[in-house]
Amino acid sequence: MARRETMTSEERVWAAIRLEKPDRVPIDILASAAYAQVTGMTVAEWYANTNEDKHWASIDKVWDYTGGWDLDLTSMAQGNPMVVKVGMGRAMGVRFKFPGVDLPDNYTAQAFEQEVMTLKDYDTIADIGWQRFMDEDYQFRILDITPEDAAKAMEEGAGSFFRGLDRWKKRGVVTLYPVNSSPLHPFFRFSMARSMVRFMEDLRYHPALVEKALKAATREYIEQIIPACKALGFKLSFTAEERAEGFFFPLPVFERFWWPYTQEIVDALWSEGIVTWFHLDQNWDKNIPYFKRLPRSSAILALDSTTNIFAAKKVLRGHLCLAGDVSPALMSLGKPEDVEAYCKKLIDEVGGDGGFILSTGCEMPTAVKLDNWRAMIQTGRNYEFSKR
């Protein structure tokens, strides 16, 4: 702990979540293949890597150069490309294209959205749940693997996961790793698996069918997260959504197909002392007021720079913690002084009275400049002390 700091990372993050003013703003990083190019690897090499220590060397190098952060999301090493392929496919429910295989070497891995889930699968999900549907059927539609491959990848992935947790714990960093195989809100999961166009048509022409599956998937999601969080000692649960917002759908669709399930998830988790971290990509300006209906401090909204975080703060000040929103464009195309200036603005205007976590907007881009990464971390670590 630096001399001016009076809190540990854990204390700092939870102070922000409780809407208190920490000793300085907590810093969160969501990065995976962003570690590649800044440490001399191509993105393709990152995904093809078979040596877990090599990944950790990259992560450690960035940590040392930038100064380190308080909360980490997905900075994990994998020693088997199959683990990444299976993990990402199952998490997002779509086929992926990978750099070096389907894409140029330094591209970000891409979700390849197609209609894979069919209309009749909604009934199956309502009957047996998403997990069994995924394990017994769906994963073999999106991944070219055998059941043995899947089992082996998941076993190896679990090993990497626990070794990673241990590393971050020793460093005193709070981790925010999804505890179930799909961290997507059920609405987002169906949209990805059906494809946007088919899902939109389902909402219009088969709403009862979609609702039946949403109810079952929501109930299952809660039943998976609570015991997993308890077993791991996690008090934070990660949920991603980037299809339900007012950028795409009008509010009546949001109110009918997203909000009730969201409220159910947050209420159930909060009753067990678990806070939901919403990874909300795209523009949520029109939806932000709904979150005021959630219990105070029961959730964190992580915004990606598309939503107006300054306006969101006005609505949710004193009610929910916000995280964000240093954009991928700024981190890769901007200069360190631009990053510094924007982080200061966020700290002053969104974090001035607490309830704010300085975070990557969405994910750290693979084309990030290392000095921009450092500027973000250093501004978060030092700016408020320099003003005192």
């Binding site: 294209k97 970000t108 979700a111 390849f112 946007m196 950028f247 759908f249 009008p250 598309t306 195309l333």
Partner: protein, 199 residues
């Protein structure tokens, strides 16, 4: 470099129009590049177009990629460096707001001097899409310089009038045209207008 953004929801006919414009401009000795943003669909045939003198760059990253603006700017820089084109035509994913594309370009791509946005609407599905995806359709219409109501051969004239009225309310500044790209109804005048504007 000038930039033409051809926007519109999935299935609105963007690729058909893009190819028509690109061929006409290439025939007029313009150096043209096409940036195609795939989203799980088979893109245009790059190899075939290269034989016609058109440069094609795929923009990987689309429906759920928050780094799309980064990749777009990098691709524009590559196009500028490799081809020194007069015009680049970009077909963003059908789930994109062209306004976001314009913002990214204006913020980080100084090589682009002029931007024109053409939004295509599918007349056959407009009512349903507008009901279900009002904000997205609205954003696509509001950031357009020209709105082309496509597939007019497959709908009643009264429906076209209603769509046109709706578009005018959402974006009074935009020029609204009705076409059928497939049946080539009113296509030539629109393409010639774009050629004039973009030369």
């Amino acid at each position: 470099m000038k930039l033409l953004v051809i926007a519109g929801f999935l299935g609105s006919g963007k690729t058909t129009l893009l190819l028509e414009v690109a061929r006409k401009l290439a025939a007029a000795s313009q150096k043209i590049a096409i940036i195609e943003n795939e989203i799980g669909e088979i893109g245009i045939d790059g190899k075939y177009l290269r034989q016609e003198g058109l440069q094609v760059q795929e923009l990987f990253g689309g429906c759920i990629c928050c780094t799309l603006s980064v990749d777009l700017v990098s691709t524009l820089e590559k196009v500028e460096r490799l081809f020194q084109t007069d015009l680049t035509i970009i077909e963003p994913t059908g789930l994109a707001s062209p306004g976001d594309v314009v913002t990214a370009v204006r913020s980080y791509a100084p090589m682009v001097t002029d931007i024109m946005v053409l939004t295509l609407l599918d007349a056959t599905r407009y009512e349903m899409l507008y009901e279900m995806l009002t904000p997205l359709l609205t954003a696509q219409i509001q950031s357009a310089d020209i709105v082309a109501i496509n597939k007019i051969d497959a709908v009643e004239g009264a429906n076209i009038d209603l769509i046109s009225k709706n578009v005018n309310q959402l974006n009074p500044q935009a020029r609204v045209v009705s076409i059928s790209a497939e049946k080539r109804i009113n296509l030539e005048p629109l393409v010639m207008e774009l050629v004039r504007e973009l030369q």
